[in-house]
Amino acid sequence: MSENSPPQDAAVEIDGLDKWYGDFHVLRDINLVVGKGERIVVCGPSGSGKSTLIRCINGLEEHQHGRLVVNGIELRRDPAAIDKVRRNVGMVFQHFNLFSHLTVLENCTLAPMHVRKLPKAEAEDLARRYLARVRLAEQVNKYPAQLSGGEQQRVAIARALCMSPSIMLFDEPTSALDPEMVTEVLDTIVGLAEDGMTMVCVTHEMGFARQVADRVVFMDDGEIVEIDRPEAFFTAPRHERTKLFLSRILR
């Protein structure tokens, strides 16, 4: 496989995408194809546009130029298309963003009940199943504020999974966590990866990247500088900017 070989069956196709915040050119000519079941790790210096890129994939940000197709649906300004895409794309945020007025269980049943229109009992069964999977079966009636950061992030993962997404987006899921909680969250994500979930994960956890990533995308200054298999990426980076970044992060 070459560094950017378009897989047969694409989950996400990004083609010549540009985005501006006012005058600020935040994403420049992004080209990336994510195959079904593929696991992509995105890394790069802070402010390089990683979050903006994955937020474009579920329509939280809109792009001004280029094509972005998710599960065969092109994202444009059309709200119906955005709705359709979001139903199949789950997202996990750096700061968890759990709904603080709802219990853990309610956080997980909210979207199944009001978006998928599942009956309450069914939504709760589903939620309990995913909460058990992230090892939080005992905490279902607590409020987010009563949980540790790692537990909150695992609830956020379960909440996203309750919508049965085919693609999961992670935006630095462990960077707001105390070091001792990073592993429990990464293990959960690794578990997902082993089940064949398509995922795009922004992270600087290089051990994790080596373990699960099919390809690593390195961004700097709004551009994709380098895309490579993890082994090659870490042992033989080709660009100066990549080498500089790796030397800082792997110190």
Partner: protein
């Protein structure tokens, strides 16, 4: 961890008596307050309780030298304070409206009550129509029509306040959402409305409503004296409520809305299920403030000819039958007690809600 564990955990439980004398400053304050109490309390008690006239059929006993507050006057005028000029024979209708209103309010405000949602639905959707029909009358149902010109006293005050609260909360929420909308027309319209209402005294709004509203109404609608101030108060309060709600919306981290979006919730579902429940809880004290302000502002409807509670107290005071040196003081004291009890009740309820949600 250990530092935390060793901290005295019940600092607040220190004997309160000892705290009153904990330092020279608090000793001074304590003594000062006691002196003030000793100075005013006996006079107050003498006037309002011991020397007060509790029963009388006219002002004679109240005019006796040295007589205190004339509560007999209040007792005698209480029906007028309650119903205004509502016809005597029809006042049972007001009693029913009050009784059912109180029962529904109790049902909905007590958080542990069963089927509260159902009670809330009754209170918000069915009760207003029921109350209106019963108060206004419907000849078809055998209820004599009672023009709202005759509604007065506590009835008028409650109708204006309840309508104001009933309209201003939802309308204020819509205005607040409109002010944050991406659609320029909606945003500008909301800003214009809010800023206009906030930039004009309430009395001016009431006069404008009284003169302008009839122009917008179809000709067959009888011009009604109560409707314009009702609308005026509600719109005025909505502008304030909108700013309060906007404060709550702004205080909520953006991530809440984004997480809801990412889960596929559409705009209204997002507002209803995620944003508003949190934003409104954040601003309960300010909402209570606005509601209490609205309740007291209802007294201004007197300027456009509504005999609300304060106005009826004010006019009853002039009854020559009861004229006397203590009548004015008694009447206004009674009005003050009424408004205080209502406002203090609302204030306590808001504290209770706060403590429930922010333990």
């Amino acid at each position: 961890m250990s530092a935390l564990a060793e901290r005295p955990r019940f600092a607040a439980r220190i004997d309160p008596l000892r705290r009153l004398f904990a330092s020279p400053a608090s000793v001074l304050l304590t003594i000062g307050c006691l002196a003030l109490l000793v100075w005013v309390l006996p006079d107050l008690l003498r006037f309002f309780v011991f020397d007060a006239v509790w029963t009388a059929n006219d002002g004679l006993a109240c005019r006796a030298p040295g007589a205190g507050a004339c509560w007999a006057f209040v007792a005698h005028k209480l029906p007028y304070f309650t119903y205004g000029a509502y016809p005597l024979a029809q006042r049972w209708r007001v009693d029913i409206v009050f009784g059912i209103g109180a029962a529904l309010l109790g049902w909905v405000l007590i958080p542990r009550a069963p089927a509260r949602k159902f009670g809330g639905g009754l209170l918000l959707l069915v009760y207003p129509i029921f109350a209106f029909v019963l108060l206004e009358g419907a000849p078809a149902l055998g209820l004599v029509r009672v023009s709202s010109d005759l509604w007065g006293g506590i009835l008028a005050t409650f109708v204006v306040a309840a309508f104001g609260i009933f309209v201003s909360l939802p309308f204020g929420i819509l205005l607040a959402l409109g002010r944050r909308s991406n659609l320029p027309v909606l945003r500008l319209a909301s800003i214009a409305f809010i800023e206009f209402m906030r930039g004009v005294p309430m009395i001016a709004v009431l006069f404008m409503a009284a003169t302008m509203l009839p122009l917008f109404l179809p000709g067959w609608l009888t011009p009604d004296r109560l409707l314009p101030p009702l609308v005026g108060v509600a719109l005025f309060a909505s502008a304030y409520m909108a700013e309060v709600v906007r404060g709550g919306l702004q205080a909520l981290p953006k991530g809440q809305s984004e997480a809801a979006q990412a889960l596929g919730l559409r705009f209204w579902a997002r507002q209803r299920l995620v944003i508003l429940p949190q934003a409104l809880r954040l601003v309960i004290p300010a909402i209570a403030n606005t509601v209490i302000g609205l309740f007291k502002d209802t007294t201004l409807v007197a300027t456009v000819g509504i005999f609300d509670f304060l106005r009826s107290v004010d006019s009853a005071r002039l009854d020559p039958h009861w004229a006397g040196p203590t009548i004015t003081t008694t009447a206004y004291s009674f009005a003050a007690i009424f408004y205080f009890v209502c406002c203090f009740g609302m204030s306590r309820y808001s504290y209770y809600l706060e403590s429930r949600w922010h333990p």
